[in-house]
């Protein structure tokens, strides 16, 4: 574990440092996508990289997401390690076939003879006042596909270490960046050595396990501070594979669990979390696993998104409903 920076940095800056350090460490690493070169990305995550590393390694592409991922696959077949950017969550959908039918499956199809160390970076989620198609939480589509690793950081230091680990990983990685945390600062040093498949306990507690990831991690921590009971907060970091061990150890201690995400509830990531926790911790649970999520509607327009996003009040209300009182009234007859 190496400290590479001590001053507080934003998540966008931490990601920029991760890309720069990966480009420095391995000449096979390339960074490309729409507006990532001269402009430095619409969120400035690739700021300065084209000048520093040259247009051969950091470059703008035509505006075609299937083309970006499809050509990245071909480059990886030929020994390079592309890191590509989908400009926004909903703009990754044109690349869905390339990601699910090829990026995820070629290693399996070739019985391990072909590795595709491609990282697809996707800024995702709401909370920044984006107009339609700029605020989707599309993680479940990709986490459902075998062969992909799906990662999302909740802090700037994790953003650095997880992106470095993703670029070094031999498996393809869908790297979801919570865009409303791009400007969040974190005094923790930027380090490498974080495993790519491990959840982390962000805040210890004894009464209830609050499971969050990406953009809802700060909301979960804020809720934990405001709660009347002792709340343990887990930041999943890796959505696929799922860290059963860390999550279940916590739930077996606390006996209660709430999972939080921005995506709609129906068949959302929280459904898998609830199922796995129930299957593995049934005898330890005092209440059903609760979900605090977006609603089962298309993502709202910016002036209404505050009604959609999980907030502290909704999380506290979910915690209050976890059958703390054994004398809870049963329905008549």
């Amino acid at each position: 574990m190496t400290a590479v920076a001590a001053e507080p940095v934003t998540m966008a800056r931490a990601l920029n440092r991760a890309l720069a350090d990966a480009l420095t460490a391995d000449e096979r690493v390339l960074v490309f996508g729409e507006d990532v070169g001269t402009l430095g990305g619409v969120f400035r995550v690739t700021d300065g990289l084209a000048v520093r590393f040259g247009e051969a390694r950091v470059f703008d592409t035509p505006l075609a997401e299937a083309g970006i991922v499809g050509t990245a696959i071909g480059m990886a077949m030929n020994g390079l390690r592309p890191v590509v950017e989908m400009q926004f969550d909903a703009f990754a959908y044109p690349a869905f076939e390339q990601i699910t039918s090829h990026l995820a499956k070629l290693h399996n199809r070739t019985r391990g003879r072909m590795e595709l160390p491609v990282v697809v970076r996707i800024p995702y989620g709401g909370g920044i006042g984006g107009v339609e198609h700029h605020s989707d939480s599309s993680e479940a589509y990709f986490a459902h596909t075998a062969g992909l690793r799906v990662i999302t950081p909740g802090t700037p230091s994790d953003a650095y270490s997880l992106l470095r680990a993703a670029i070094e990983c031999p498996d393809p990685v869908i790297f979801f960046e919570p865009k409303r945390l791009y400007w969040a600062k974190d005094p923790s040093p930027l380090t490498t050595g974080t495993p790519l498949d491990a959840a982390v306990v962000r805040r210890p507690g004894t009464d209830v396990t609050l499971i969050a990831y990406g953009p809802t991690v700060p909301t979960a921590l804020e809720s934990a501070e405001a709660a009347d009971v002792s709340v343990e907060v887990i930041d999943l970091r890796s959505l696929a594979p799922f860290d059963d061990a860390t999550v279940c150890a916590s739930v077996r201690r606390t006996g209660r669990a709430v999972v939080v995400h921005e995506a709609p509830a129906f068949l959302g990531y929280g459904a898998e979390v609830a199922a796995r926790v129930t299957e593995q911790c049934f005898h330890y649970l005092h209440a059903p696993v609760a979900r605090v999520t977006g609603f089962d509607i298309p993502y709202p327009p910016p002036m209404l998104e505050k009604h959609y996003l999980p907030n502290v009040d909704r999380i506290l209300a979910a915690i209050e409903r976890l059958q703390w009182d054994d004398t809870v009234e049963l329905p008549d007859a």
Binding site: L30, A56, T61, P62, A64, A66, G67, V69, G70, T71, A72, I73, G74, M75, A76, M77, N78, G79, L80, P94, E97, Q98, S101, H102, K105, L106, H107, N108, R109, T110, R111, G112, R113, M114, E115, A146, G147, R149, C169, P170, D171, D197, P241, F242, D244, A245
Partner: protein, 361 residues
């Protein structure tokens, strides 16, 4: 109806394709006047590989009827493209085939049993792509065009002397990926050659319902990609066109799109009934343009091919088919553990638990 091919170095650099398909050998086996034909030695080798390829194709079809293959998409009639294009590839170049291109794989030297793994169903891919530089056969059509462009771009970035040849069909020319690939190839000046085998039908849908363009080769023009229209049943023309395009790619002159007009003699697969969408007369008219007969006539007239050589090649093809039949009649070794081994570079704990349910701890 066909236009004579100009010398190789002038073949490929025009954006606009010719109005009629370029040709070097007529269907009756005569050299088109003024054409620059490949060496007899090269053409005899192409002839040999086409004969073996057709015998392989017939054997695979028979194996399907016997239940040894789940399905087989024949390329009978398209051997000039399958073999002529592959013959132009160098060892260091890459081929990106589709599911209909088993004959091209065999021509490239891929083991025929490994070639048929996908269609037998013992695994999704039987061969090591790096052994012969043959990418996995593409089933979701046109997705391989982008892989070819990316691989070619990577070769250029790394300073490798290698190009990529990608096969698509007339149907796949409508897919978005084909257009993105042509565009990326044009912008990147990538060393890649697109060969569209226009066999007239996307399963049952005729070209008239696929495209309103003057030719599929015209689709290169809008992307700044040099384009050619050729007779896809003329092995000499396919070889010459692909070779000139590969040479241009290797010389840094960028990508080329080649439309080769050919015809699928058999149905789409054994599960298809072609009589529902095309008439027997049409098939017969294309049988008269058979690529193997054409080269046979040309090489015979030049005294390169005689009955002895013809018999020797036919015997070689028969031995190839016989060996394939014997090997395919042995049941493949199946191990369900492999289902879990290569999902990730290292199996996850959850996958190890799931594997134990199938194969035991």
């Amino acid at each position: 109806m066909s236009t004579v091919a100009t010398p190789r170095q002038k073949l490929s650099r025009d954006l606009l394709p010719s109005a009629e398909p370029l040709q070097l050998i007529t269907p009756s086996g005569e050299a088109v006047p003024g054409g620059h034909l490949p060496d007899d030695r090269v053409l005899l080798d192409i002839y040999r590989r086409m004969v073996i390829g057709r015998r392989f194709d017939a054997q695979a079809t028979a194996l399907t009827r016997q239940g040894r293959l789940a399905v087989y998409p024949s390329s009978h009639g398209q051997e000039a493209c399958e073999v002529g294009a592959v013959a132009a590839l160098r060892t260091q170049d890459w081929l990106f085939p589709t599911y209909r291109d088993c004959v091209a794989l065999v021509a490239r030297g891929v083991d025929p049993v490994e070639t048929l793994s996908l269609l037998r169903g013992d695994w999704h891919l039987g061969y090591n792509p790096y052994s012969h530089r043959v990418a996995p056969q593409c089933t979701p059509l046109a997705t391989n065009t982008l892989h070819a462009v990316g691989l070619a771009r990577a070769a250029a970035i790394k300073g490798e002397d290698a190009a990529a040849l990608v096969f698509v069909g007339d149907g796949a020319s409508s897919e978005g990926d084909t257009h993105e690939a042509l565009n990326f190839a044009g912008v990147w000046h990538a060393p890649v050659v697109f060969l569209v085998q226009n066999n007239g039908y996307a399963i049952s849908v005729p070209l008239s319902k696929q495209s309103a363009a003057p030719s599929l080769a015209h689709k290169g023009v809008g992307y700044g990609v040099a384009s050619m229209l050729i007779d896809g049943n003329d092995p000499a023309m396919v070889y010459t066109a692909v070779q000139s395009a590969l040479e241009a790619a290797q010389a840094g002159e960028g990508p080329t799109l080649i439309e080769a007009r050919t015809y699928r003699i058999e149905a789409h697969t054994n599960a298809d009934d072609a009589s529902r969408y095309r008439g027997e007369d049409e098939v017969l008219s294309w049988l008269a343009r058979d690529p193997i007969d054409r080269l046979d006539r040309y090489l015979t007239a030049r005294s390169v091919l005689d009955s002895e050589t013809r018999t020797r090649i036919a015997d070689e093809a028969e031995a190839f088919a016989s060996s394939l039949r014997d090997r395919m009649n042995a049941d493949p070794m199946l191990d369900p553990a492999v289902l879990f081994e290569h999902v990730y570079a290292t199996p996850t704990p959850a996958l190890r638990r799931q594997a134990a349910k199938v194969v035991g701890p």
